[in-house]
Structures are given as C-alpha cells and as structure tokens.
C-alpha cells in the first residue's frame, strides 16, 4: 500500500512538473509564478505576517481557531461553486439552499427524530434542489443565472414555510450530538468544520484531476459543442454538477447549524456573492473551463483574513465590502495582465 502511494505521489509530481514545464516552455518557477492561486496565497501569507506584527490579537490561538473555522463555510460551498463555474455555469441559490437544508435538519430533529434522519432529510433536500436546477438548465435549456436566481427566492421562502419563520434552537434527543458535530474539535484540537473542509477539498481535487467526470466538466466549460460531438454525456454531467453544488451548500448548512446551535431564516443570506468571490479570487474563470479546488480554499481564506483583520485593526466594518471587492478586481486584473502579455 505504501509502495503504491509512493509511486502515485512520484507520478503525480512528475506529471505536474512535466505539464508546467511543457506548457510554458520555461522553468517550473516561472510556471508557478504564472498561477493566480499562487499570488493569492502569497497575499494571504503576507497579510497574516503583517497582522501578527501589527496587532496583538491576530496570532493568538483563539483568533486563528476562529478564522480557520469561519473560512470553512464559505470554502466548502466554494468547492461546489468552483465545479459549477468550471462547467461554464453559475449557482446563485447556494445561500438559500444552505438555509433551507439547515432548516430541514433543525425542524426534523426538533420534531424528535434522530440526527441520522435529520441529516438524511437535509442531504436529500439538497440533492433534490440540485437535480431540479440541473434538469432545467441541462435538459430544458434555461440559463443557469435565471434558474438559480429563481431557486434563491424559492428555497429561502420554503425555509420560512418549514419553520414558520421562527428561530429553531432545540434539536430534540440528539441535540448534543449535532452541536458536537459542528462545534467540536475531535482531532488534534482542529475545529471539526476545518476537518470536513479538508476532506471535501481533497475529494473535489481528486474529482477534478483524476476522474473522467472532472475531465468532462473542464471540457464542457470550454467547448460544450465539442464535448457533445465527442460523445460526452453533457446533460448528465451538468445535472451532477448542480447537484454537487447544492450538496456542498447542504453540508455547509448542517455543519453551520451544529456550530451555531440555532437556525434562523436569514442564515446564508447574501452568501452566494462571497462564495462566487472566493472561487473567482482563487482563479476560477466565470467564462468556464478554468478553476481548482485549492483555489477555492485560498480565495475563501483571503476573504476571511480581510474580514478578520479589519476588525482587529479597528477599521470601521463598513469598509469590508470595499476591501473584498478590491481583492476580486485585483485577482482578476492580475489574470488580465498575464493574458495581455501572452497575446503580445
């Protein structure tokens, strides 16, 4: 097993190196320097170093624990969103789907069912919504923007219907289990949501890089017509992509419910924009065909570090939007400059 893993690792490294070398016909350093994800990562690291010196409160265990945990909700949903964006689509409904899934979990558990039943109901809801979005988009030719905009409205409204627009904070017999699931730290003092995020990121990375499914998502995003002509089941793949996106929102919803210990109907409001921002800052191209799992994580991290640092530096919270918006424009500007140089 170890031998297999080592060979796998060697091959992966060889391929990555070979690819970067061959693609740019320059050395690997130049290739890494050409990646948007790398520069965003540098920005995150520099910001962290700066904040460690500039404030007393940044580099404390408690604050770092907070940051890593806060990153996860955006990051997990951004993983699903990255897939959608690579396929050339967009999913505006994730914030509302997160809310509905949280509410389904809360209402089902509040009614006295076990945590397993609650999670099953919540996940099923997510998959159903994803399938609905996907089928309308892939089989009936609706624009993704319109379908998911509609779902943004529908899902939040359904969450209000399900809860009668109340706050749910009692989760029946398995109340403590749910809170431990989202709020605990079962391994080495790392917050549980962070563990889930890492596992899900590895899974997404595996899907994108090592499976036919991932390959097809990239192909569809770049040239859907070509994908169809070469016999790729374009419609099924698209439905699956929207189901994964909704699923990621559902999972984030379950974890967030456990962490917060209460669900209101405005949880996840406006989240879709932060998630899309994370994906785009992480290098996903809204035109389709480009994006990585690691980028989604790093993009989410940059947004959270900006948010956190403004508070610690005592800057008025009203400035948050300006800084996050600036980060989006900067990240994409970098990409534009690189393309500009290429075309010259």
């Amino acid at each position: 097993m170890i031998e297999t893993a080592r060979r796998y690792w060697d091959e992966t490294m060889t391929i990555i190196l070979d690819q970067t070398i061959a693609q740019k016909q320059q050395n690997w350093l130049t290739a890494i320097l050409g990646r948007q994800t790398f520069w965003v990562l540098i920005a995150v690291v520099l910001a962290c170093i700066f904040l460690s010196f500039a404030t007393d409160s940044f580099a404390t265990a408690k604050n770092l624990y907070n940051i890593t945990r806060n990153v996860t909700f955006i990051a997990i949903v951004a993983l699903g969103m990255t897939l959608v964006i690579i396929s050339g689509g967009i999913d505006l409904s994730v914030g509302s789907v997160l809310c509905l899934c949280s509410m389904v979990l809360a209402v089902v558990m509040h009614a006295g069912y076990s945590i397993e039943v609650g999670i099953a109901a919540s996940i099923s809801t997510a998959l159903l919504i994803g399938a609905f979005n996907g089928i309308l988009i892939a089989y009936l030719g609706f624009p993704p923007f319109v379908v998911t905009l509609g779902m943004l409205s529908i899902a939040r409204s359904l969450a209000m219907v399900a809860s009668n627009n109340t706050v749910v904070y009692q989760f029946g017999p398995d109340h403590d289990k749910l809170l431990a699931l989202g709020g605990g730290a079962w391994l080495l003092g790392i917050a549980n949501p962070v563990l889930y995020m890492i596992v899900l990121a590895l899974l997404t990375g595996y899907l994108l890089r090592w499976t036919r499914f991932g390959r097809y998502v990239f192909a569809i995003g770049d040239n859907e017509h070509a994908a169809t002509l070469t016999g790729i089941p374009v419609r099924k793949i698209k439905v699956a992509v929207y189901m994964i996106s909704a699923l990621s929102a559902g999972i984030a919803g379950i974890i967030q419910t456990g962490w917060l210990g209460a669900v209101t109907t405005n949880i996840g409001a406006g989240m879709e924009l932060q998630v899309i921002a994370a994906a785009v800052i992480g290098g996903a191209n809204l035109a389709g065909g480009v994006g990585t799992a690691s980028g989604a994580l790093i993009g989410a991290a940059l947004i959270e570090v900006i948010r956190n640092s403004l508070g610690l530096l005592g800057i008025n919270a009203f400035w948050q939007g300006t800084f996050i918006g600036g980060a989006i424009v900067l990240a994409v500007l970098f990409d534009r400059i690189r393309n500009f140089r290429h075309s010259e």
Partner: protein, 246 residues
C-alpha cells in the same frame, strides 16, 4: 472490395430534398474528394455515414453487411470516424486530453479508478510521431497553430482501428504551409489502408491528394471519376452546373 457501399441514399427534411438517390462506394486506402457548392448535400451525406442523420431511403453496407446507425457513437464502434469542420477541440486541455476526450484511459488505484495520464501521454505521443507531426502531447491546444490543431483532431481517429475517416473542410481556415501539413496527414491515413472522404471547396487540395473525385449538385451525384481523368475546369463546370453530368 468496397469498404462502404451506399445504394440509392436519399434524405429529406420536410419538403427539402437534401440528398437525392446517391449511390457510391469507398475503397480501402483511397482518398475521395467530395465537392460541391454550399447546400449541394455534401455535409448531409457525410453526416448520414457518421450516424448523425438516418437516411430517408436507401441502404448502406459496411463490408457487405447492412449498416443501420442511430447515433454517432455507433458509427465509431463500426470504425467510422469523423473530423468535424470546427475540429471539436477544447482549448483548455492538453493535446493528449483532447485526443482521448470521451475515451479516457483509466487504471486502478486501490479501490479507485483514476485517469492514466502517463499511458495517455505516451500513446498520444506515438500517434503524433506516426503522423510525423510536431505536436506534443502535453501542450495546451490553446497555444497551437491551425495545422497542429488539425493533427490533434486527426489523431483522435487513430485511437481505434478506424476503417473510414470523414473529413469536413480540414483545410478551410489555415495557412498555406499548414495546408501541406494536413495533406500529409491525409496521405498517412491513406497509407494505413483507411478510406478517406475529404469534403473540400479547395480545388488544389483535392487534386493534390485525392484518388477520386465525387461532385454533388443540388442533392444529386453528378460525377464520380478518377482524378487523372478529370480536371479542375471540368469539376468547376460540374459544381456550377455548366456541365450537366458526366
């Protein structure tokens, strides 16, 4: 013996008669130039062979056995490959990834099945060498010249043991030097014993590389003769209708 035989094939879309009573045969190791004006029925004819359309009338025989195709995939399974006019390439993927698109090779990794990058790079590299193309497996299609892109599209047809390759306007949008490259690729296919159908508007290409020329006009086949016995002037006349039929 003919690899593919079409007898009295017609295709109409509603009231429009796109292909009208066409019979022809393809021989192994022969390049057939298929010429005609826009709307003459060339593409419709080729799309019936490739499984995109079903003929309204008539029968196709592959190696003497009747051939009925419902989907393009079935044509591929029978060894009939098509190179589309727009090449159907993904710019964001490598040459190898494009060659194997829809037919990726996988290998077992523990309980998982993962893409077999190494084998696909190697196999694609072998095909490019065989085609005497300078295309490299690991290069992104985005960065390639028109000729290299053609090589990638043609390499697809060599993954399986194709017997018939249909090419739709392969030289329409590339530079003069690249045209020579593509014509060489076509010769390679022919030398492997593949029957090639070359749809083209470009007279010099057909007269350089084809063994036979078939001319269509308004859905009908108006000529089918060896290249040596024809001339560009005659073909032009057939295409425009100045010469009725030969």
């Amino acid at each position: 013996m003919a690899v593919l035989e079409l007898t009295n094939i017609s295709k109409h879309f509603g009231a429009i008669q796109a292909v009208n009573d066409v019979s022809l045969s393809l021989e192994a190791g022969q390049v057939v130039g298929l010429m005609g004006d826009n709307g003459a029925g060339k593409s419709t004819l080729v799309k019936m062979i490739a499984g995109n359309f079903r003929p309204s009338h008539g029968t196709m025989y592959l190696n003497g056995v009747e051939l009925v195709l419902h989907r393009p995939v079935e044509a591929r399974q029978h060894g009939i490959e098509i190179v589309h006019q727009d090449l159907a390439l993904c710019n964001n993927l490598t040459a190898a990834a494009n060659v194997f698109l829809g037919r990726e090779m996988c290998r077992a990794f523990g309980p998982l099945r993962v893409l077999d990058y190494r084998t696909m790079y190697r196999r694609a590299g072998e095909i490019f060498r065989e085609l005497k193309s300078e295309t490299r497996s690991r290069d992104l299609v985005k960065q390639m010249s028109g000729g290299q892109r053609q090589a990638v599209a043609i390499a697809r047809t060599m993954l399986s043991e194709a017997t018939i390759v249909l090419m739709d306007e392969p030289t329409a949008a590339i530079s003069v030097r690249q045209v020579a490259e593509v014509l060489n690729l076509i010769r390679h296919l022919r030398d492997r014993g593949i029957a090639v159908v070359l749809i083209s508007h470009r007279m010099p290409d057909v007269f350089t590389v084809a063994d036979r020329v078939i001319v269509m006009r308004r859905g009908r086949k108006v000529a089918d003769k060896h290249i040596a016995t024809s001339s560009p002037e005659e073909v032009t006349g057939l295409i425009t209708g100045a010469i009725e039929q030969v």
